[in-house]
Amino acid sequence: MKALELRNVTKRFGAVEANKHVSLTVEAGTVHAVVGENGAGKSTLMHVAYGHARCDEGRIFLKGEEVSPARHSPAESIRRGVGMVHQHFMLIGPMTVAENVALGREPRRGLRLDLETAADELRQLAAKFGFDVDPDARIEDLSVGEQQRVEILKVLWRGVDVLILDEPTAVLTPAEVRDLFGVLRKLVADGMTVVLITHKLDEVVEIADRVTVMRRGEVVAELTGTLDVGAIATAMIGRPVLMQVDKRPASPGAAVLSLQRLRVRGRRGAAAVRDVSFEIRAGEVVAIAGVVGNGQSELVEAITGVRPIVGGTVALRGVDVSRAPVDRRHRGGLSHIPEDRQARGLVLEFSVAENLILGRAREHGTPFGLDLASVGANAETAIREFDIRPADADAPARALSGGNQQKVVVARELTRPGMTLLVCGQPTRGVDIGAIEMIHERLIAARDAGAAVLLVSAELSEIRALADRVLVMYRGKIVDQLDASQLALDSALERMGRGMLGVTA
């Protein structure tokens, strides 16, 4: 039986064709992976299949029965037994697990909400598939892996037997990925169907029975049986993938950034950074490896001045900047590529030219008038040097692709006069391969020019390619350090993964 079938689906966003005549068949009782690069159209395709988005052409069949695009919706999919676990969890933080799962299908006793029945059913369901869950826990207190399991429970509780997961392993540690795959295998053994949207090829190889490869909105390959990472990767990109950057060994100089016993509080007052001390010297790249949510964001915010610190010190080239405002740190040599480029890196409504001088307006003119010619020249230079497309200084930042938006931020931050410390948070997240290569080259170039670089990234492969030293962060503390030689070992990934989970050697 075909659990899910799409015939000739086309979906356009304005002039862009996100899906071009895509046909896809998922057999019941299998794990089917849909892979592709960022922007290949796989998420869009699944959103269309699920009813989140409406296709412009094509036919959709859920468990053998056709659904008309006009009447399709997530509620309709669930009714037919198809559920989706989103990449960005649709969970309500301050509410409990039971409340989140029950929402929309609330059990009642008379007029009263009956959460106890829901809680019991949840416990049974979770036990059946081998994980435990506390129905009265609040979502915001759970780890990301646990939250994902709640998302899965949400759809299971509604009786679905086809499960679509959108980039489920993006925020999980290697061990949590293993747990998840264990659950998925149990689901399939119980007769369910799993559709996995991902770009993580090694995981695909481990769990999938069939793989559909998409590139630029089209299906380019279908593979079954014994799967080969190389073959899939080549099909995805169209050329062999290099995650290597040419770099000479580092020759670090004096300390640029120095943290002493830093303590920072996160959202809702909980301790996020506990007693962290380390140094970054000129001419080296230090990376922080850690699962999202272990204090790295707060650490970066404290260093860059956006978040106040509770204790300890931050020093830039010997000068204490622990309580200095952001602009003073910039003048002290700090440049920052924020991890959320759309919220913190750019003013989306501003033009490219205006974004390029954000926070740097004093370099162009007097307090009584901006030197527009200077601003324009600055934009032309940046567009040329960093290959920003479209090459239009007046285009609003909102109109640029993710990769080009990132290039604008990188251009602005890397050209700050007197830069001595470059802090980057997830610099290549959501960026296409060509831009990734350019950004990596620029980061190494900055290092070679004598800057100290602090890199926070969730992509272990990026860390391995760029870092001279790695600090592993878990629950606000640095739990492990790897230097260049240790990084080069094959066991480095496993070692970092263990540290990220708090497992001590």
Partner: protein
């Protein structure tokens, strides 16, 4: 630009329809009422003068609201800021020595108004910057508080015996009238135009304006880039209050020559409508100010047929219609 014009036209039509319903309820003919409204405003010299007189403070208060809005703030306190500003203008204008050269007198008097309004505006700005207290309620509260304080100060010290107004300002502090058949229009309408041009220049061509716009569009990005949010918010609210406070030029220096209880009532709130209909752009604001000035004067003209509160209703409906239409247009454009 075309989109903005579309929004305003739709809003006006909706308002006219709503107004017609009310006019009919009162037993009058909409055509007659609207016709009379136009005839007594743009149709004769006195009416036109009154329109200019009423539009001038609206440009100031509209600019005040728009300036705050562009920095991401809602200044609903223009009414109170306007009042303390006019009060300060009147007091300073009356206490200057008689022979003061007119340039100094007028600059000092208007300056006092701007400072007073700016100080009042800075309070909610500071409270927002330091405590995160939302300025909407604080500015509204200050309207009540400022009103009470001004009245008390006037009754206790500054009002002339047995009256509700202050002493008249000295000769050299008076702004000449424009004539126009005895209307209240005076040269301060040119000040309004200068203010509009100044605000445009500030936002589009200066560094500070660029920074404030960033704070308004995306405070997180501005903060990360090193722009000081707290400082920007406080100064922006102060600047907004100062613009509102400068209104004293029109009423006090240019017309009555003293501050009177109830002066300029409603001009502050109408400034919100002007900013919205003018789409927060100085050119639009001047246009919207003329529109609302017309409505305001027209209300008096048709008062024998229909209560002048009709105009207040029209104004509120216009605000709602513009807000609704602009949101709808934005939604359809980004779908």
């Amino acid at each position: 630009m075309k989109r903005e014009a579309y929004i305003v036209v739709v809003a006006l039509l909706v308002a006219m329809a709503a107004g017609s319903v009310l006019i009919l309820a009162f037993g009058q003919s909409p055509a007659q009422v609207y016709g009379m409204l136009m005839a007594h405003t743009w149709g004769d010299s006195y009416g036109l003068g009154q329109v200019l007189f009423k539009a001038t403070p609206l440009v100031f208060t509209g600019l005040a609201v728009a300036l705050a809005f562009r920095v991401g703030l809602f200044n609903i306190g223009v009414e109170g800021q306007m009042m303390v500003g006019a009060f300060a203008t009147a007091l300073v204008g009356a206490s200057l020595p008689d022979g003061t050269p007119w340039v100094i007198a007028i600059v000092l008097a208007i300056g006092a108004g701007a400072v007073a309004g700016g100080a009042l505006g800075a309070i909610p700005g500071y409270l927002r910057a330091r405590f995160g207290a939302h300025e909407v309620i604080n500015t509204i509260m200050l309207n009540f508080i400022a009103g009470a304080l001004v009245l008390w100060a006037g009754r206790t010290w500054f009002f002339v015996e047995e009256s509700t107004h202050t002493q008249t300002v000295i000769e050299s502090a008076r702004i000449p009238s424009l004539g126009m058949s005895g209307s209240a229009a005076n040269l301060s309408c040119f000040l309004a135009l200068i203010a509009a041009a100044g605000v445009w220049y500030f936002f589009e061509r200066t560094r500070r304006g660029h920074e404030w716009r960033a704070v308004g569009e995306s405070p997180l990005a501005a903060e990360t880039a090193g722009i000081r949010i707290g400082r920007s918010i406080t100064w922006a609210m102060a600047a907004s209050g100062a613009l509102a406070g400068a209104v004293g030029a029109n009423f006090v220096l240019g017309y009555k020559h003293y501050f009177e209880e109830g002066i300029g009532r409603g001009m502050g709130f109408m400034g919100i409508a002007v900013a919205l209909v003018g789409r927060n752009h100085p050119v639009g604001i001047v246009g919207a100010a003329l529109l609302f000035g017309t409505l305001s004067q027209g209300g008096f003209a048709v008062n024998e047929l229909v209560p002048k509160e009709l105009v207040d209703v029209l104004q509120a409906v216009i605000i709602l219609a513009v807000a609704a239409t602009s949101a709808e247009v934005r939604r359809l454009a980004t779908r």
